[in-house]
C-alpha cells in the first residue's frame, strides 16, 4: 500500500480547559474522499484546521504530504499543497472574483499574471460562473461565493482539499450547486476531507465516513454500512437525529 497522504497519529489539542481533540488517529490515502460528521463541538473543525496548521496540535504525529507539521520549517510549503474551503466562504471582499483567484497564484506560486488568469478562467468555467469574473464577492449569492472559494483553492493545484461545512451557511436551493462541484472533484480523484452533514453527498461521493464525538473518532466505515448499520450506540443516536431532519 502506498504512503498515506495524510497520516494522523494520536493527536491532542486543547483550548484552555476545552480538550477539543483527544487522541485522534486517521490515515487518508491519495484519491480518498473522507466525510466527517458529528455533533457541534466534537472537534471536526479543529481536526481540519490542524491538518493545514491553522491550529497547532499539542502532541501526536501529523504528517501531510510527507512533511511533519510539528516543527516544520516552512509551513507554507504544506499549506500550498492543502486547499481549504470555509463555511463562511472568506472571499477577499476588496477584490473581484478574478483577482480572488489570481492573487495567491502570483504572490505564492509566482505564476505570470497571464497564466494565472488562464487558470482562473478555466476553473471559473469548471464551477460554472465564468460570467461573474469581474464581480465583487458581495454581488454574488452564497452558492456562487462558495463555488468561487472552491475555485480559488483549486487554483493553487493542491493535492488535498479540505472542506469545513461548505454548505451549512447556504440556502437549500444553493446547496446542490456546491455539492455538484464537490462531487465532480471527487469523481476526478481529488483527495478530499469534508466535514458535512449532507448524507446524500456522503453516500454518493465518500469512500469512507467518520463519526466524531467529544474529540474522538467513534466509528468509521463506508457510508452505506455506517448509515444503515452503525455499530456504536452513540453513532446510532446521532444518525437518528440527523436523518429525521
Amino acid at each position: 500500500m502506498a504512503e498515506p497522504i495524510i497520516h494522523i497519529e494520536n493527536i491532542h489539542k486543547s483550548f484552555g480547559h476545552i480538550h477539543a481533540l483527544r487522541g485522534v488517529s486517521l490515515d487518508v490515502e491519495v484519491g480518498e474522499v473522507v466525510v466527517i460528521f458529528g455533533p457541534s463541538g466534537s472537534g471536526k473543525s479543529t481536526l481540519l484546521r490542524c491538518i493545514n496548521h491553522l491550529e497547532v496540535h499539542e502532541s501526536g504525529l501529523l504528517v501531510v504530504h510527507g512533511i511533519h507539521l510539528k516543527g516544520a520549517r516552512d509551513i507554507n510549503a504544506v499549506r500550498r499543497e492543502v486547499g481549504m474551503v470555509f463555511q463562511s466562504f472568506n472571499l477577499f471582499g476588496h477584490l473581484t472574483v478574478m483577482d480572488n483567484l489570481t492573487l495567491a497564484q502570483w504572490v505564492v506560486r509566482k505564476r505570470p499574471k497571464a497564466e494565472a488568469r488562464e487558470t482562473a478562467l478555466a476553473l471559473l468555467a469548471k464551477v460554472g460562473i465564468s460570467e461573474k469574473a469581474d464581480c465583487y464577492p458581495s454581488e454574488l449569492s452564497g452558492g456562487q461565493q462558495q463555488r468561487v472559494a472552491i475555485a480559488r483553492a483549486l487554483a493553487m493545484n493542491p493535492s488535498i482539499m479540505l472542506f469545513d461545512e461548505p454548505t451549512s451557511a447556504l440556502d437549500p436551493e444553493m446547496i446542490k450547486e456546491v455539492l455538484d462541484v464537490m462531487q465532480t472533484l471527487a469523481r476526478e480523484g481529488k483527495t478530499m476531507v469534508v466535514v458535512s452533514h449532507e448524507m446524500g453527498f456522503a453516500r454518493a461521493a465518500a469512500s469512507r465516513c467518520i463519526f466524531m464525538d467529544e474529540g474522538q473518532i467513534v466509528e468509521e466505515g463506508p457510508p452505506d454500512r455506517l448509515f444503515s448499520a452503525p455499530e456504536k450506540e452513540r453513532t446510532r443516536t446521532f444518525l437518528s437525529k440527523v436523518l429525521q431532519l
Binding site: 507554507n76 510549503a77 486547499g83 470555509f86 471582499g93 492573487l103 465583487y136
Partner: protein, 293 residues
C-alpha cells in the same frame, strides 16, 4: 472607545446592491438618465462653504487692504510653514502608526510590549508638554550623551526647531494613529487572514495583499479626522520657535496691536485649510468606498 465603532466592518463594494427579492434601488446608470440627478457629477454641497470663506478672506484683503493685506503678506510664510509641517509630519505619522499598529497586534511579546508601552506613555502626556520637551530638554540630553561618549557632533548639537517640532508631532500622533490602525486591522474578519494563510501566503503577504487594503478603507474616516486635528495642533509649535501661521500672527500683533483683525484673519486662514482638507477627505472616502481598488 474606538472611533471605529461608528463604521461598518467591511463596507465591501456593491454593499448597496439589494438582496434578491428586495425592492430595487435605482442604479447610478438609471439616475444618470434623470436630468440633474446624476450622483457622479454633483458637487459635494459643502464645497460652497470653502468657497464662501475663501471669498470672505479675499474680500477683506481687497476691500480692507489696511490692515488685512498687510497682515496677510506678513503671515503668508507662516501658512506655508503650517502646511509643510502638517504634510511632512502626517506622512511620517502614517508610517509610525502602521508599524505601531502592527506591533500592537503582534504575537511576539517583546514587539507587543514595546509598541504598547510607546502608546501608553505618549497618550498620557499633553502634546504641548511633549513639544516643549523635544525643543528644550531633548537637545540638552543629546549634548550630555555626546559629551559623555566623546562624540563631538552630538556634544555640539544645536536645536533645530522645525525638525524637533516634526519629531514631537510624529511621536505623539503616531501613538494615536497606532491605535487607529490596530482597530482597523482587528475589524477585518479573522477568516480573511485564515483564507490567505491557507492559500500559502505568509503573514506579511496576507497583511499586504488582503488585510491592509481592507483595513485602509475602514480607517480612512478616522485617519482623515487625525489629519485635520494635526493641522490645527500644529499651532502649538508656535511656542517652540517655529514661525508657523500662529506665531507669525502673534509677531504681527506685537507690533501693530490689532488683535481683532489679526486673529480673525488667522482663524479664517486655518478654517480654509481645514475645510478644504475635510472636503478632500470626503471625496477620497467616496471614491474608495465605491467600486474597485
Amino acid at each position: 472607545m474606538s472611533p471605529l465603532g461608528l463604521f461598518k466592518k467591511t463596507g465591501g463594494p456593491g454593499a448597496r446592491r439589494p438582496a434578491p427579492g428586495e425592492d430595487p434601488v435605482p442604479t447610478r446608470e438609471e439616475l444618470g438618465r434623470v436630468p440633474g440627478a446624476d450622483l457622479g457629477y454633483r458637487l459635494d454641497p459643502w464645497w460652497w462653504l470653502v468657497v464662501a470663506i475663501t471669498g470672505l478672506v479675499i474680500a477683506l484683503i481687497v476691500w480692507r487692504a489696511d490692515p488685512f493685506l498687510d497682515i496677510f503678506l506678513f503671515v503668508r510664510d507662516g501658512v506655508v510653514v503650517t502646511i509643510v509641517l502638517t504634510l511632512s509630519s502626517f506622512g511620517l505619522i502614517l508610517i509610525v502608526g502602521l508599524l505601531g499598529g502592527l506591533g500592537r497586534i503582534a504575537r511576539n511579546p517583546v514587539v507587543h510590549f514595546v509598541a504598547s508601552l510607546y502608546v501608553e506613555i505618549v497618550r498620557g502626556i499633553p502634546l504641548l508638554v511633549q513639544l516643549i520637551w523635544w525643543y528644550f530638554a531633548a537637545p540638552v540630553v543629546i549634548q550630555a550623551v555626546g559629551t559623555a561618549l566623546h562624540i563631538s557632533a552630538l556634544a555640539e548639537y544645536r536645536a533645530n526647531a522645525i525638525l524637533l517640532a516634526i519629531i514631537g508631532l510624529v511621536v505623539c500622533y503616531g501613538a494615536y494613529m497606532s491605535e487607529i490602525f490596530r482597530a482597523g486591522i482587528l475589524s477585518i474578519h479573522r477568516g480573511q487572514m485564515e483564507a490567505a494563510r491557507s492559500l500559502g501566503m505568509n503573514y506579511f503577504q496576507a497583511m499586504r495583499y488582503v488585510i491592509l487594503p481592507q483595513a485602509m478603507r475602514v480607517v480612512l474616516p478616522p485617519v482623515g479626522n487625525e489629519f485635520i486635528m494635526l493641522m490645527k495642533d500644529t499651532s502649538l509649535v508656535s511656542v517652540v520657535a517655529v514661525a508657523d501661521l500662529t506665531r507669525r500672527g502673534r509677531e504681527f500683533m506685537a507690533v501693530h496691536f490689532n488683535p481683532i483683525e489679526v486673529w480673525t484673519l488667522v482663524a479664517l486662514l486655518y478654517l480654509i485649510m481645514t475645510l478644504f482638507s475635510a472636503r478632500f477627505i470626503a471625496w477620497l472616502e467616496k471614491r474608495r468606498g465605491v467600486g474597485s481598488s
